[in-house]
């Protein structure tokens, strides 16, 4: 900026006086010409008109348009910021809900597992009881069968012994003696 000013000032100083001398007076310096003053008066009229057009109408309106845009951008940014905050809030709530659901589902699973275990335990205990009852019943039956078998052994032994003696001796044996002998044997053995 300064360089061009200096350059032009130098050229002005260098050229203009030479030309002015060569050509006579510069029209700009011809203050005797009534038009030189008249143009200033008309400039005042034109500039005042331009000033009022710009100051009263054009500039406030352009300023309003610009302000409008600034407000619009600011409000849009505000809306976006609010939407972002809402979205973040929603995400937080979602995460919280997921966490809650996970916790409650784990609780439900544990409960179900416990209930199943409980049921299984109950079932197995009833089954055990029934089995125990069956076993004891079977043992009683066996005992009874054994006793019956043992009781049945005495007459069988007497019959066998009687018929053996009969065969061997060829004589009828007194039933009372066989019973005595068996009783003696069974107390011995």
């Amino acid at each position: 900026m300064r360089r061009t000013t200096i350059l032009l000032a130098a050229t002005t100083l260098g050229l203009t006086p030479a030309i002015a001398v060569a050509e006579g007076k510069m029209p700009q310096m011809d203050f005797a010409n009534p038009l030189t003053g008249a143009q200033v008066v008309w400039m005042a009229v034109i500039m005042v008109a331009l000033y009022f057009i710009l100051a009263r109408w054009a500039l406030p309106r352009i300023g309003g348009v610009i302000e409008n845009r600034h407000n619009r951008i600011a409000s849009d940014l505000e809306t976006a910021r609010r939407a972002k905050a809402e979205a973040e809030h929603a995400v937080r709530e979602l995460n919280l809900a997921i966490q809650n659901a996970r916790e409650s589902s784990q609780g439900a699973i544990a409960e179900a597992v416990n209930a199943a275990k409980e049921r299984a335990r109950a079932q197995s205990s009833t089954l055990n009881e029934r089995l125990d009852a069956q076993i004891s019943a079977a043992e009683t039956e066996i005992e009874a069968a054994r006793r019956a078998a043992v009781n049945a052994l005495g007459p069988i032994a007497r019959d066998v012994a009687s018929s053996l003696l009969h065969r061997l001796t060829g004589e009828a044996v007194e039933p009372g003696r066989v019973d005595q002998a068996i009783a003696a044997l069974s107390t011995q053995g």
């Binding site: 900026m1 002005t12 029209p27 038009l35 143009q39 500039m47 331009l50 057009i53 109408w57 352009i62």
Partner: protein, 251 residues
């Protein structure tokens, strides 16, 4: 040199009357025609821009908004919050000078900012305004502006006249800067164009080839002049802001 070729490099600054007999009667000059055109261009820009009033601006609206914000920022940055009331004035000044400078670059158009009477009137108005604003804000205390604070007393008799002279020279430097820049550019254009005619008439075929050099210079100068047209309008506007800042804030 220009005389020999029959070209008057200063003829382009000659004032005539515009708008025929009517313009002659009311002394409406060719420079005023350009001023009117500049005002119409500035107004049209806003008419077009404000017809759309789009949220996403088009080209013309963008141009109007950029120029608005450019000057608005310049005024607020330089003057401060009080500058808001001077914004329409600075904008009018900037737009008027900028469009005037650019219009002056077109062939057969008139550069009204090349007239010292015009730039002087503008500068004097800025000077008067800033001085009045100074007294408006500070009353008679605005005279303290001429004695900078923190200066030893024995220096004041020397310093106050210097401050007054520098203050009074503001409108001169403001007006001459704009006038000289625009005048110099237009004179140089015509002088180089005159060289071309001299070369062709003096040297014939060789001169036609040699005339490429001033032609190239004129092309380069055109680019420079567009820069100067913007720059000088900017300088005028920012110095106006600075003077208003000084008037309001006293340094």
């Amino acid at each position: 040199m220009a005389q020999e070729s029959g070209i008057n490099a200063l003829g382009q600054f000659q004032l005539t009357t515009g708008f025929g007999a009517f313009g002659k009667a009311i002394e409406f000059t060719n420079s005023n025609q350009m001023m009117l055109l500049a005002a119409v261009i500035v107004t049209s820009l806003f008419v077009i821009a404000l017809r759309q009033r789009a949220l996403v601006p088009g080209r013309m609206q963008g141009l109007a908004e950029i120029s608005y914000e450019f000057v608005h920022n310049m005024v607020l940055d330089t003057i401060g919050e009080e500058g808001k009331r001077f914004f329409p004035f600075v904008f009018t000044l900037f737009a008027f000078i900028l469009i005037g400078n650019i219009l002056g670059l077109f062939p057969y158009f008139f550069a009204f900012t090349s007239h010292i009477a015009i730039t002087g009137a503008l500068a004097l108005f800025v000077f008067a305004l800033s001085t009045l604003v100074g007294f408006w804000y500070h009353g008679i205390g605005f005279l303290k502006f001429f004695s900078p604070p923190g200066v030893p007393g024995w220096l004041l008799p020397l310093l106050i006249p210097i401050e007054i002279v520098s203050f009074l020279s503001r409108p001169i430097s403001l007006s001459v800067r704009l006038f000289a820049n625009i005048t110099a550019g237009h004179v140089m254009w015509e002088v180089f164009a005159g060289f071309m005619l001299m070369l062709v008439s003096g040297l014939g075929a060789v001169g036609v080839v040699a005339a490429i050099i001033p032609l190239g210079l004129n092309i380069a100068l055109t680019a420079l002049e567009f820069l100067v047209a913007f720059l000088q309008a900017y300088v005028f506007a920012i110095l106006t802001c600075l003077y208003l800042h000084d008037a309001i804030h006293m340094h």
